[in-house]
């Protein structure tokens, strides 16, 4: 009988913080707000995750990466469950995550409570607010395509959701 090493929940959170989002590698799954709950059941980790978008193809990959990361730390009994409710929102993205997104060149999501008409999407390159929507659908389900009217750079905006 192989038993898991003795560990605390906060150490598990640290391990999860090393797992990157496969589509936006500068963000961890914790920054993204994908990890909803972590607890131990007889010293075995149980991880509850939630998908960002219904059809997000990264979820299977993320599940596998969590398993790999925990295996590397010596865990053998690992439970990962996906729960849909409450539905994921960009408001769960950490401030740290939003800052990393912007440095990476993706405009971070506005708070979901901002009315559509009052939304300002700032250019991640030159920080101009003079930007325009090119397409509501970008390179992945979670992004829209914008263009800066000042520096002319097209950029992705992480849609608030």
């Amino acid at each position: 009988m192989v038993s898991n090493p003795t560990i605390t929940e906060s150490q598990i959170w640290d391990i999860l913080a090393s797992v990157c989002d496969p589509e936006i590698p500068v963000l961890s799954i914790v920054d993204m707000g994908i990890v909803r709950k972590v607890y131990l059941e007889e010293n075995n980790p149980v991880i509850i995750i939630t998908p960002t978008y219904t059809g997000c193809p990264a979820m299977d990959m993320i599940t596998m990466q969590i398993r790999m990361a925990l295996l590397e730390h010596g865990f053998t009994q690992i439970t990962i469950r996906s729960e849909l409710a409450p539905a994921w929102t960009t408001d769960w993205m950490t401030e740290e995550g939003k800052r990393k997104l912007q440095e990476y060149g993706i405009a971070p999501p506005n708070p979901s409570t901002t009315p559509l008409s009052e939304q300002i999407i700032q250019c991640p390159q030159c920080r101009s607010n003079n930007t325009k929507l090119l397409s509501e659908f970008g390179s992945t389900a979670c992004k829209a395509l914008y263009q800066c009217q000042d520096c002319k750079e097209p950029f992705d905006y992480f849609k608030c959701h």
């Binding site: 059809g55 397409s135 959701h161």
Partner: protein
């Protein structure tokens, strides 16, 4: 397998899967790159919805049922999608109008379904509703742009109405299983009609006053198109049973 809840979940799943498959046909063929990306994004969202519903149905069925067996190993008359979603793409106008009619319906449906007693159905609907609101906004803008566009785009939008209108009626006629579980679709008909009328008026397209409405999809009696869709969708799994990536 035949209880109303199972039939109802499969009905919801099949609607999403078949429209996902139709929209996916545009991949690499969209009129311009950004719209190619938009329609395939919508396809992916719908595929995600279908997976959630199939996974739920499989968990209730037990035995050896999986999301894959439900999607790949049922035959045409076991599919319970509406006739609207299986209609061919034809051109951008028909694709857009099909999406608009369906997204308007799906938005109203999920809005009610998210309050369902069944917690898993409610969770899937609440999650998907956020995405459906994008589909609705995008397809509505396109319907107006094409209807109120050039003579050619206007003509094609009229053709699309002629081709699709007759398949909208069945969306609001409850099938036997819908009488027992889920949302009463007859109650969302008025809201759908009102919204569609406003948008079509803005697009400068008139709707038929009285038309024969074709029904049967929700009972498994489909137009000739579904067989071809399933032939393509299911080919690999039929030719190489249990193969996986």
């Amino acid at each position: 397998m035949n209880d109303p809840l199972n039939k109802y979940i499969l009905h919801l799943a099949d609607n999403a899967l078949i429209l996902a498959q139709r929209n996916g046909e545009w991949c690499g063929h969209g009129p311009i790159l950004e719209q190619d990306i938009a329609i395939t994004n919508i396809s992916l969202d719908l595929l995600g919805q279908a997976r959630n519903f199939y996974q739920y149905a499989a968990s209730l069925q037990g035995n050896d049922a999986t999301e894959d067996s439900l999607a790949y190993l049922r035959i045409e008359n076991e599919y319970r999608n509406g006739l609207l979603v299986e209609q061919p793409n034809i051109d951008w106008a028909q694709t857009i109008l099909r999406q608009y009619f369906f997204s308007t319906y799906q938005y109203l449906l999920y809005e009610k379904l998210q309050a369902a007693d069944d917690a898993q159905l409610a969770a899937i609907a609440a999650k998907a509703l956020k995405e459906v609101s994008y589909h609705l906004r995008w397809s509505r803008e396109w319907v107006i742009r094409l209807g109120d566009g050039t003579a050619e785009s206007h003509r094609r939008m009229i053709q699309a109405v002629d081709a699709l209108w007759r398949y909208t009626g069945e969306l609001f006629i409850p099938a036997d299983y819908e009488n027992q579980v889920g949302v009463d679709v007859s109650l969302i008909k008025d809201a759908w009609t009102e919204q569609v009328n406003v948008v079509m008026a803005e697009a400068g397209i008139s709707l038929p006053e009285k038309t024969y409405m074709q029904t049967g999809g929700k009972q498994g009696i489909h137009t000739e198109h579904l067989g071809y869709i399933l032939a393509e969708l299911q080919y690999v799994q039929r030719a190489y049973p249990n193969s996986s990536w």
